[in-house]
């Protein structure tokens, strides 16, 4: 089913002097779902995002939002797009409220509406208790929430997040991702970049792989996985947790990366059914018991590695 297009990027190239960052990049960002862009460090993700928000003009090519040329309608696009940078873009010596108020004014929000919006965001991002704290005094997670809140102060149609979970611990990353999902559910289209591919896989509905200045692949996480690998990931747990004798035997099948992590055995195979059948027989002979088995497609990291190995 063809998805409704929100942003159309047509053959854009971006050079800084002689250095070519993006080369003939074309991409369609659908209206629905969270859109993720994966790429190695220095692949041009930030440059692409800066072009999307109209900060940079592409050297050549066009970008359309709802059929409107972004770079010919800068003033309009700036009102509709929000952007949160990797490092955060707030004033450390202003309080949470002051930052929101200041940026709200820059986005032409009238005072009454602004105060209401500030309260909504502070509440939504759990910053109520720290509304009068200076931004520099906030914890890393709160600082990131403030940054995203400033990006949402003007109720944008599209929110672009550049590495929103960078430098955060796993718990905070999870919280931020949950927040992103909530933003999407509230009606704001989210475009996100990250080098943490596992997170992107979990939260994004559509992914694009940016490599060497171009989009190499595009699709849902499952579409990408199916396209790039026939191997399935198996996770096995037995009662004995002893896999010493089993592992050599499994190597006779078409398997790779057989590893034991804690009490579980992981492997990749194209013969999941055969292996499962073999293990069941083996366990019978050894009087062991199968506690858990999972079969799934491999992670998006593998897909990414396959693409970027080219």
């Amino acid at each position: 089913m063809e998805k409704e297009v929100l942003i159309q990027i047509e053959n854009i190239t971006k050079k800084f002097g002689d250095h070519v960052v993006l080369s003939g990049l074309s991409l369609t960002i659908p209206k629905d779902g969270i859109f993720g862009i994966m790429g190695l460090s220095g692949s041009g993700k930030t440059t692409l995002l800066n072009i999307l928000i109209g900060f940079w003009q592409p050297t050549s090519g066009k970008v359309y939002y709802n059929f409107v040329d972004i770079h010919k309608n800068q003033h309009l696009i700036k009102q509709l797009f929000g952007f949160a940078t990797q490092e955060g873009s707030v004033y450390p010596n202003l309080t949470v409220e002051e930052n929101l108020r200041y940026f709200g004014k820059l986005y032409n929000i009238q005072s009454r509406e602004l105060e209401k919006r500030i309260y909504e965001l502070i509440k939504q991002f759990d910053l109520l208790d720290s509304r009068n704290q200076y931004a520099k005094e906030l914890s890393t997670g709160m600082y990131r929430r403030l940054d995203i809140a400033c990006s949402l102060i003007h109720n944008p149609k599209v929110l672009i997040l550049d590495e929103p979970t960078g430098n955060l611990d796993p718990i905070l990353r999870k919280k931020v991702m949950a927040m992103i999902r909530e933003i999407q559910d509230n009606g704001t289209k989210v475009i996100i970049t990250s080098h943490l591919l596992g997170e992107l896989e979990k939260v994004c509905d559509t992914l694009a792989i940016l490599h060497k200045g171009k989009i190499w692949e595009f699709g849902t996480p499952n579409e990408l996985k199916e396209k790039y690998t026939t191997y399935e990931e198996m996770k096995i747990e037995t009662k004995s947790h002893n896999y010493e004798e089993l592992i050599p035997m499994l190597k006779r099948f078409n398997t790779r990366n057989i590893t034991q992590k804690n009490k579980e055995l992981f492997l990749y195979t194209t013969e999941a059914e055969n292996i499962l059948s073999y293990i069941l027989n083996y366990l019978k002979t050894t009087n062991d018991q199968l506690l858990n088995v999972e079969v799934s497609k491999p992670s998006i990291e593998e897909v990414f590695e396959s693409v970027t190995r080219r």
Partner: protein, 540 residues
């Protein structure tokens, strides 16, 4: 991909959501943000307020005087004469510390190495004489241009005064001698005139005498009558048959007459000879007298000439001859305080560096701030951001100007009028506006704190060097001077001088304000361009 025109139009209509709010509201919020950021950096806030306060107060306390104090002077002479001692005493009377050096090299070295401000070398046995080479050498450290000229000028003035006094004495003596000569000339002239008159009389007398002598008839007919007379006597004696005594007496008489006649004829002959001699000699004498008369005339003429020449001397006052032209340095300003003299320059320096450093560092702080990027992606015109930054800096600078003016008013109450104070504030503001914009331009052009600071200080130093503060501009060519007349530092300094030292009104500084305004506009445009280019900061 070609968007469908109607669909695009519908999208655009849907997309238009929020009208722009009043730009002044945005500027107000930017001002509020900038001031909050400034105040919340406590050390910065303290320095911005205390800095100009302390500098101005220190200047006012230190320089509110009109004389040099405790100038150390080293002197040396191979032999100190009375005149030398008199000069030294004169110098020490003006609060100068005089030390006699042990040798000439010691004296010169002391001035060179800063132990003493001046070294004065007096000639040996300084005195006024015909063969005296009375050069007094003054050694100063010319690298200290300001004080070197001041001290050298003071010492030269004192020596000149002493020299003038000596000249006056000598000239007085010369005038007395001249006067005496004039008197004697006049007296001599009258004698000569008398002599000339006498000569003239003598010449006339000689002429008369000569004429008289010439007119004397001394010719005689010589009578050889002794035989005749004797013959007659004999006849008579025979005829009369008188007594021989009578005839003898008659003979005696006749003999006597004959003798007298001989004598007379001899004398006549002699007189004639003498007259002839005189007739020959008198013209010579007359000629000699004429020659003497001619000389006497010449003497008279010379005496008259001397008297007339002496009479042509119009200036007979010894003081006026010794020092025919005097210079007196008058201050064109109404005050003699060093503070007032240096105030225009110091105020310009303070405001220039304050504005340059404050605005440039403010811009770089904004650029280095993580929030700088977000400003570029908001639907707010870049010019508003620039105006916000500018107004923030001007607001702080205005507060500093108020502090400076308040301190000045305390120290210079009565010297500066309130009108002058207001005009000073206006001039300082115009200087501040220009340099604030220039500082902002520097901030947008460069990307690090260090570079911006160095660029700001370098800019200020260049403008300062090419003003009259360090070296007189008259040392440069006229073409360069013409260009430098537009140096904003010079414009600002000149405005303040006119207001503070010469009580100028607004009409006296309006042209310069206009030039500063035009300059500010040019820098503003450059800053706008630089700000848009500064987006590339994010590509580095």
């Amino acid at each position: 991909m070609k968007p469908l025109f109607n669909h695009q139009k519908q999208m655009q209509e849907k997309l238009y959501e929020r009208p722009t709010i009043n730009p002044f509201t945005k500027i107000y919020f930017m001002l509020e943000k900038n001031l909050k950021l400034l105040i919340r950096t406590k050390t910065t806030a303290i320095i911005f307020i205390l800095g100009p306060l302390i500098i101005t107060a220190l200047l006012a306390i230190a320089f509110n005087t009109s004389t040099l104090a405790d100038v150390n002077i080293a002197v040396y002479s191979d032999s100190y004469s009375e005149l030398t001692e008199s000069l030294i005493n004169n110098l020490s009377a003006s609060n100068n510390n005089i030390i006699k050096a042990n040798s000439e090299p010691d004296c010169i070295d002391s001035a060179r190495f800063g132990d003493f401000q001046v070294c004065i070398i007096f000639p040996e046995d300084l005195a006024v004489s015909n063969d005296g080479d009375n050069i007094i050498s003054i050694y100063v450290d010319n690298s200290r241009l300001n004080i070197a000229n001041l001290i050298a000028s003071q010492i030269t003035t004192k020596v000149s005064i002493e020299s003038s006094a000596l000249s006056e004495d000598m000239i007085s003596n010369i005038l007395i001698v001249l006067d005496t000569a004039n008197t004697k000339s006049t007296q001599t002239k009258s004698i000569v005139t008398e002599l000339l008159s006498k000569n003239s009389e003598i010449t006339s007398s000689i002429e008369e005498t000569s004429n008289s002598l010439e007119s004397l008839d001394l010719d005689y007919t010589s009578i050889d009558n002794s035989t005749t007379i004797n013959g007659y006597l004999s006849t008579l004696s025979s005829a009369c048959n008188s007594s021989s005594s009578t005839i003898t007496k008659l003979k005696d008489q006749i003999t006597a007459l004959q003798n007298n006649y001989s004598l007379v004829t001899t004398k006549l002959t002699s007189a004639k000879d003498s007259i002839e001699t005189l007739s020959t000699t008198l013209p010579t004498i007359s000629s000699d007298i004429s020659a003497q008369t001619s000389k006497l005339n010449s003497i008279e003429t010379n005496l008259v000439s001397i008297t007339n020449n002496i009479a042509t001397i119009q200036v007979t006052n010894a003081g006026s001859i010794a020092t025919p032209l005097r210079t007196e340095i008058e201050s064109s300003s109404t005050t003699n305080s060093f503070l007032m003299f240096i105030l225009p320059t110091m105020l310009t320096i303070i405001i220039m560096f304050l504005a340059l450093l404050m605005s440039s560092s403010g811009i770089i702080a904004e650029k280095e701030s993580k929030a700088y990027f977000r400003n570029f992606i908001t639907p707010t015109n870049g010019l508003l951001f620039l105006m916000g930054e500018f107004l923030s800096n001007i607001l702080v600078l205005s507060a500093q100007i108020v502090i400076i003016l308040s301190v000045l008013y305390i120290f210079l109450k009565g010297v500066i009028s309130q009108e002058a104070l207001i005009l000073t504030g206006l001039a300082l503001l115009s200087i501040g506006i220009f340099f604030t914009l220039l500082g902002m331009l520097i901030g947008y052009l460069f990307n690090t704190k260090q570079t911006v600071t160095i660029a700001s200080i370098s800019t200020g130093m260049v403008l300062l060097f090419f003003s009259n503060t360090i070296i007189p501009l008259e040392t440069l060519s006229s073409k360069i001077r013409d260009v430098l007349s537009y140096n904003p530092f010079i414009l600002g300094e000149t405005m303040l001088k006119k207001i503070l030292l010469f009580n100028s009104l607004f009409s006296g500084i309006d042209q310069m304000l206009l030039i500063m305004g035009i300059g500010s506009l040019i820098v503003l445009i450059a800053a706008i361009v630089a700000r848009s280019i500064s987006k590339h900061y994010f590509s580095t």
